[in-house]
Symmetry: C2
Subunit: 344 residues, 2 copies
DNA sequence: CTGAAAGCGCTAACAT
DNA sequence: ATGTTAGCGCTTTCAG
């Protein structure tokens, strides 16, 4: 069978405690003893049993990440960044997909599901929203991601949705566009706290500051934020005959779909319509034309989220710090779809 | 502290064994007893400690997945499918990224790294190749993915690279193309066993069968298979002045980059050049024009791989089955880039 | 600096 | 049908 510490101890001629000391880099071990233990470990091919360690220490060295779907580009890139960030802290990442399903999202927060073998959870909800805030009462280290829910009792890492959307709109204004359409508004009209609404708000704010009236006809619904819906919304907009010379798509995937519909309709980008998306996913750089976008600071989001989670994991029971809300820095990335000739 | 089975047993007025029986759905428990235990569990908010269970049973209920990078579309979609497949078997998935780094890939196979808390590993190497076959001697349940290594001592799930590439080329031949370029050949010339070489072989086979000589000028190197490299290879090809009316890009990402370069050069697709990619990633459906591709059977790969791994995990020591090699079914998906008007 | 021994929470013989 | 009990492999007091 697989060797245990006892085997190592026997081979090295020391006690099990000494083996433990060596493995955990405890200070007081005589170099010669350490060497003997190390070579015994080598000889036997010993590997610590992490279940046993986890049982004893209460830590597994694994954190959970719950996202809607990895096949959505944004989440794949987020997961990529989070796994890298976790690695720096020597943590593994168990990825769970909720498929944007309400029940599964609830299971994730309540610690049911598969994520019990973890020391904490990074959770990016898609379906749960402000009304479900009270559900978020996790009894374990937890960091909330995204903008579906605000004001909960946990740490929260998100982006500057309003001001970055405002900046995106201003970017279109700066290149002389005045009839700026938006694609991706939420079907139901009441303003909630979710990416769509926040970004629409930033759009309106930019128009307001420029003294341009908001034309409701230019605000188009699209959900979910997939390519087909972006394309469809754009086809509708074109068919409606409403004039427009700029487009702010609420994410890159919608923008890519819209680009497709614009191309089909013979509308030139950026000449006839300048387009900017949101998220700055990899493919934005390589679409035809390349897509201007808002980089929401994904890297920073990932690193911050993992750091916060690690702090919560390490926190002693008494010294609870009040929940933190962190917003990452954003950046407008100008590419061909808004007239920038350079590549970026 | 978090409640244990003992607490549940005390509250329910039964022994710990009975609690265990209830939790594990053992047959012989009186309904009334079961009810009492269940309500005690509810009342205390008891959750089994998976570390303890893992220590006792030797199983963690988690499998590892080692891929180069999630931000590469193909792997994100693969991981998505694998997580779904694992779920059906009630398994969690711990995702590790090797970044296509040799050392890290070795660490993954040898069971170092973060994947020790797992019951087995699905491994998709990028850097390790045929020469490293001897390194693949894992001492734990293991399933190899992809085509970097063949003939190892483990189960292996892969695709029909040669025949599907042949079919892709034939698809171009069928629509009348005769000067078919290929993008994505490997920089070093010797034929190894890796996707690039296998797919080039299928291409040559198709040309041979059609009685068309292979023109080395039409076989273009590109590595790694990223958009920029596809675009660059296409720019080179166009600049070289070599005539061509068809393109087989060895994956979709290269194809998308090539599409971009073709567009920039004013070459019409599919009129001047028909293009087919490989992988059938989501975005192939939404590029302009939509991209024909080879669906390698990703779903099937994921499900098969997980099933094989589960079998290896459950296998008794004595009854070892010889390693299996499984190849998924592929399918040509014709879209606009090869003249298909319908959407698919 | 090293050893002995307790016990983390659970499962599975074995007993009743 | 239910209870008792012995570890799984490790960390960690506590002694020496």
């Amino acid at each position: 069978m697989t060797p245990t510490m006892h085997d190592v101890a026997r081979v090295a001629g020391v006690s099990i405690k000494t083996v433990s000391n060596v493995i955990n880099d405890f200070p007081h071990v005589r170099p010669s003893t350490r060497m003997r233990v190390l070579s015994a470990i080598e000889e036997l091919g010993y590997r610590p049993n992490l279940s046993a360690r986890g049982l004893r220490s209460g830590r597994t060295g694994v954190i959970g990440l719950a996202v809607p779907e990895l096949r959505q580009n944004y989440f794949a890139e987020l997961a990529d960044a989070i796994i890298r960030a976790a690695e720096k802290h020597d943590l593994g990442v168990l990825v769970e997909q909720t498929s944007g399903d309400r029940e599964r999202e609830i299971a994730a927060v309540t610690g049911a599901g598969r994520l019990r073998l973890t020391d904490g959870l990074l959770f990016s909800p898609e379906r749960l929203g402000q009304d479900d805030r009270d559900l978020i009462q996790p009894k374990f280290p937890f960091v909330l991601l995204g903008e579906r829910i605000f004001g909960g009792p946990t740490d929260h890492v998100t982006m500057h949705n309003v001001s970055s959307a405002q900046a995106a709109t201003e970017h279109l204004l700066e290149i002389g566009r005045r009839r700026i359409a938006i694609i991706g508004a939420h079907p139901d009209q009441r303003e909630e706290i979710r990416s769509a609404d926040l970004r629409v708000r930033g759009y309106k704010r930019a128009l307001g500051a420029a003294g341009i009236p908001v034309d409701p006809q230019l605000i188009r619904v699209a959900a979910p934020w997939h390519r087909e819906n972006g394309a469809e919304a754009m086809r509708d907009l074109i068919a409606s005959g409403v004039a427009f010379d700029g487009l702010f798509a609420l994410n890159d995937t919608l923008a890519l779909g819209a680009l497709r519909a614009l191309g089909d309709a013979g509308v030139r980008v950026p000449d006839d319509v300048a387009v900017i998306g949101f998220d700055d996913i990899d493919e934005a750089r390589y679409s035809i034309p390349s897509l201007s976008s808002v980089d929401p600071g994904r890297q920073e989001i990932a690193e911050t989220a993992v750091e916060l989670l690690v702090e919560r994991i390490n926190e002693k029971d008494g010294e609870a710090i009040p929940p933190l809300l962190v917003k990452s820095e954003f950046r407008i990335v100008a590419r061909e779809s808004t007239g920038s000739t350079g590549s970026s």
